[in-house]
Structures are given as structure tokens and as C-alpha cells.
Symmetry: C2
Subunit: 344 residues, 2 copies
């Protein structure tokens, strides 16, 4: 455990690989312009010797850590329970790895820990941050701003209608919700209910707006706030059936809560879609395909959003300028598509 | 996104909270010896002002980051697919948070990225590291040693019988496996098969040893190497049934592969436990309770192991000496227990 052996030097790696010091340095710093065969030889020598570049010295020169923090503003238990986050992280991980940046996931037990996260971000350990699943009264955006770390948000931040000058990647939540509810109306349904997400998140609030765009005069008892979880979807569906037993369609704000709603509908003897048509949001696989019946839903490309967030941040940090990025990156709102399966 | 506003100072926080500068400093640095009511007032002022302590200056004095890296030597897709890791991280997260340390999870796409992880660890961004799910020929242990970061391992590292001078937390894998196989023999079963984990991991190799302790003369066709996944368990069970249709018991090296084996046994018309008795390893909930039939298994306290790893590391770093830790921490091997349900 004690580090008694001297650290192997760049020279030792060069000697072992049979290449010049400059070649080792280029490989260690990204490998641009070095032949694949040489890269492989140098990497093997690095592994064999356990060579670690002197990061502190390197950082002083480049002022770069080649590391990006990811902050999901949810307790770690939720991060691991909701496949949405795993998918978004998959996209981020692929993109960062393709540019040899380390993904630094900062986990917390909840909002009380966000001051500590702000401290870590301010500590000069990462070049930038990707932040998602923000809630309206979270201190994190302020802490990040004071930390002075370039940041790209997943989902429009809630502190202003347009997201202020924040750079973010989002789906067209309002437009997607409108398309879902219009589809239900097109099926001849008139008592359409909405199971929302947590309304302190813009994604959930925007989907509710989309619902209201199509159903401006909906009975308030047809809207039930929920929390994006299967258990929350079950609770909301029970509540809706008790209040309005004549409900003939449900738009759920995500697939997980739609799956919960489907279970309750079956339990109460309602046929889907004959008695009640159901639409979700996400097209999260395999969830959306494995519900009974398979779920009609609004597709957003979750992994692709993660990839795009990472790409925008790397552009900002100047990692990708060679590949044709130009000017300051701006926010991106991606279109959604309705995917028809059996439930509506 | 740009950081134009000046950073709020310690003095500003003190003024807002109506306390002394020293009190703010004590709260920001851990809160020891400050009354709860004052702590709350200071924390509120910190949040309202978006105050971030000058970490660089603080680190120079304390040489501490109050951050611990967690490295799981598996691709991020597996980290999020196997609930084992979520449970271990839960224990780690709770313990680190209780001592106001930031959990820094370093995710990778696979072993090729471990040189980059070593670089980050060597870069002075964390005080220590928790490393688990090592495979035998992984360069990570060497890279970590050269990085000079105090480390505690989850699972005995594979580079020597005793783990060398590495500090690790492990379960009694061999003893637990022996108890499982003895239980099957005690049920009168004589054709006991073993579905192993990946044998380049000590946990899997040790469980195979435990199987052999009890069944030294087992037909080699009754042992099938697998990979700790449900799909791997299915493949292994098919293979075993094809080779030895008379198999009357299976010890699977973890619950996920046992769940896969149960599905194949049902598909092939074998009754469990009447025709084939099945035992798993982990007692991972809810998996072990939700199999059909519910799974008899060897229980290890996965969350508790994560907690203990974090505790040993914090002891080493001197965070917990006030609580009675003494001397250098040493490795811990925890006992296992057989949990009987319906499958054996």
C-alpha cells in the first residue's frame, strides 16, 4: 500500500517502447498524429511500467484536467433505480471516452449535499460539468455559477422561461405531450387524464402545458401530480379511477409511471386500450416493450441527449474545435416522435 | 454561464448569519463543536449567498480534498445493470456523506480506460480510493500504487493469496460456498452442479474452491464457468442439462445467475426443488425473494461491505480517529449465512 518504488519516468517508457520521448508525450497527451502501431506500443509500455504522467505539472501547463463532472440532482438511490439516468450516462460516457476525458460522477444522498458538490466543482478538479434532473428551488445552479465551471444542463433549467444564458439540451416536452394527447382525442376519447411528473421540474411542467394546450377545459380532477416512478404511477391511477371512474384515456408523463398505471387498470378490470387508452413518454427500452399491453409512447433519444450534452461541453472547452465546431455552443431542443404500440 | 459576480466572502456569510467569522469557518470545515441551531443558520446563509469556500487555499493548508474516488473495474453498462454495485455504492455513499466526504465515481467504458483513471487518481483530486470488482490481469492495482493514493479494495485482490499488503473487505466466499453445497448434500443430492462466476475474480474462484472442498470428486462436466449475469446463468444451465440430464442440484455463484438457471429449469419442465434444488449467493433483494420459487441463498451484507470499506479508508485518512479507531486498519473478512427459502 505504501508507495516506496520511484515513479517510472517518461524516459523509461520511451526506452521500453523503443520510441522518442516526444512520441510518448504525444501519446500520453491524446495521441494526435501518432501512428496506431506506435500508440499501441507506447500504451503497452505505459501499462507494463505503471507509468502515470505528472498530472500536477501537466495541469500547470495546460490548465486542463481532461475530466468532466456529472451531477444528477437526485439522491443516489434514485440514480440507480431509474434507467433514464443510466441511459443518459451511457451517452455521456461514450462521448467523453471518445475524447479521452474522465467521467467523474458526483453522487449525493440528496439536496443537503449540494453545497459539498459545489465545493468540489470549485476545487479545480474538473474542466466542466454536466448537470441534470434539476428541481426548481435547488441551490446547485447558484453554487455552480459561483464555482465558475463551464456547464451544460440536461433539461431546461427552471430559473427562467428560456433558461437564461444557460446552455442546455432538452426534448420538445410540450410538443411531444401535445402530440400524445391529440392522438388520444383522435381515438375518440374525451375524458383524458394526465399523470404528471414532479412539477418542480421543467420537463414535467412543460408536458402538463402540452396536455392543457389540447385540453384547455379539462376537469382538474383528471390531472394528478406524481413523481416519475412506477409506484407513483400506481397511486395516481388509483386516485384518478376513484375520482373519475369514467376516465377513458391516460397520458402519463413518463413510461415508468405509465407501467404503474397499466398494472392498476388491469387490477381494476379495465381493458387497455378498449376501456382506457394509455400513452407514456420516453420510449425507454425494454420497459415500453414489456408492459402488458406494449406501450404507445412519445420517444425521446435519451442516450443521444447525453451524448449531445457531452459534445456541447467539449466544444466549449475547445476539445473538439478541430472537428469543425464553431463559435459558442447554444442550447438544443430535440424533436420527439410518437411510437405506436398496443396501448393506444 | 459566465462568472462575473464577485464570489461572496466568509465575512459576508458571517454577517448574513449573524455569527462570528470563526463560527462560519468551523461550520464550513465540518461543524464540530458548533450548536445545531447555529449550524443551520450558517448553512442557510451559505446557500442564500451561494458561498463556496476557497478550496484551493483550504487544500494547501489541510492537504485534504474531503473527496474519495470509487472505481468499479467494470464497464459503466455493467455497473448500472447489476444491482450488486448499486447496493455497495449505497453503503459507501451513506458513510462518506456522514463524514461530509464527496463520493467521486470514476466511470469507464472498460479496461482500456484504466490508464486514464490512474492519471486522475494521481492528479491530486481525491484523498483516497475504494476499488472493487478487480479482475486478475487488470493494470489498475499497479496504476493505483504508482499514484500513491491510499486505497481500500472490495474483495481480496487477485495478485497474491493473502492479497499482499492491500487492505480489503471481503466475504467468506469459500466458507459460504461450502455451507451451500453441504446443504444440498444434506438434502440427499449427489449430482450437484456449480455455475461459477468469472474465474479471473477471486470471489468466483474462492466459491469454486468451496464447492470442491465438499465435492472433491465431482464430474468436471458438472462445473460450468459463467459471468454473474442472468443471461449467463441461463446459458450455463442449458449446457449443464445437456451434458448431465441427471443433475439434481445447482449451486450458482450469485443470485442473478441462479435466477437465470431457474428460468431454464422451468422451461425444461424440471420442478424446483423436487427434481433440482437450487442455491444462489448474495441474498440480493428483491431478486432472491421474487424468483419462482423464492431462492435459498448464501447471504452477504453487500451494503454493509460498502460502508465498511468507506469506514476503513476514512480511518486510514484520519477522519475518524476521534471516534476510537486505532492503528493501521487491516483487512476484514465477513461471515456469510445460509438463508433458506423454497428452492432448496
Amino acid at each position: 500500500m505504501t508507495d516506496t518504488a520511484p515513479r517510472p519516468t517518461l524516459e523509461a517508457v520511451a526506452a521500453r517502447a523503443g520510441v522518442s520521448r516526444a512520441t510518448v508525450s504525444r501519446v500520453v497527451n491524446g495521441g494526435d498524429g501518432v501512428r496506431e502501431a506506435l500508440v499501441t506500443r507506447v500504451r503497452r509500455a505505459v501499462e507494463e511500467l505503471g507509468y502515470v504522467p505528472n498530472q500536477a505539472a501537466r495541469s500547470l501547463v495546460t490548465r486542463r484536467h481532461d475530466a468532466v463532472a456529472v451531477v444528477i440532482a437526485e439522491p443516489e438511490t434514485r440514480v440507480f433505480a431509474d434507467p433514464f439516468f443510466a441511459l443518459q450516462l451511457r451517452g455521456i460516457s461514450k462521448e467523453l471516452t471518445a475524447h479521452d476525458n474522465q467521467l467523474v460522477l458526483l453522487l449525493t444522498e440528496g439536496r443537503d449535499d449540494h453545497v459539498r458538490v459545489g465545493r468540489y466543482l470549485a476545487g479545480g478538479h474538473v474542466d466542466g460539468a454536466l448537470v441534470f434532473s434539476l428541481h426548481l428551488d435547488d441551490p446547485l445552479p447558484g453554487l455552480i455559477q459561483h464555482a465558475g465551471v463551464p456547464t451544460v444542463f440536461g433539461g431546461r433549467p427552471g430559473w427562467s422561461e428560456s433558461g437564461g444564458d444557460a446552455v442546455f439540451v432538452d426534448s420538445d416536452n410540450r410538443g411531444g405531450a401535445r402530440e400524445a394527447v391529440r392522438h388520444l382525442v383522435g381515438l375518440g376519447r374525451s375524458r383524458v387524464a394526465h399523470i404528471t411528473g414532479p412539477l418542480d421540474q421543467t420537463s414535467a411542467a412543460d408536458r402538463l402545458e402540452g396536455f392543457r394546450d389540447v385540453m384547455p377545459d379539462a376537469d382538474p380532477r383528471l390531472v394528478e401530480e406524481s413523481d416519475f416512478t412506477p409506484a407513483g404511477g400506481e397511486r395516481a391511477m388509483r386516485e384518478l379511477l376513484d375520482r373519475r371512474p369514467d376516465v377513458d384515456a391516460v397520458f402519463a408523463a413518463n413510461d415508468l409511471s405509465a407501467a404503474g398505471a397499466l398494472r392498476v387498470l388491469r387490477e381494476r378490470g379495465r381493458r387497455v386500450p378498449e376501456d382506457v387508452a394509455v400513452i407514456g413518454f420516453d420510449d425507454m427500452l425494454p420497459v415500453a416493450e414489456q408492459t402488458d399491453p406494449p406501450l404507445t409512447t412519445v420517444r425521446q433519444d435519451i442516450e443521444g441527449m447525453g451524448r449531445l450534452m457531452a459534445r456541447l461541453l467539449l466544444d466549449r472547452l475547445g476539445h473538439r474545435t478541430a472537428e469543425g465546431a464553431e463559435g459558442a455552443p447554444s442550447s438544443v431542443v430535440l424533436p420527439t416522435t410518437l411510437v405506436r404500440r398496443a396501448s393506444a
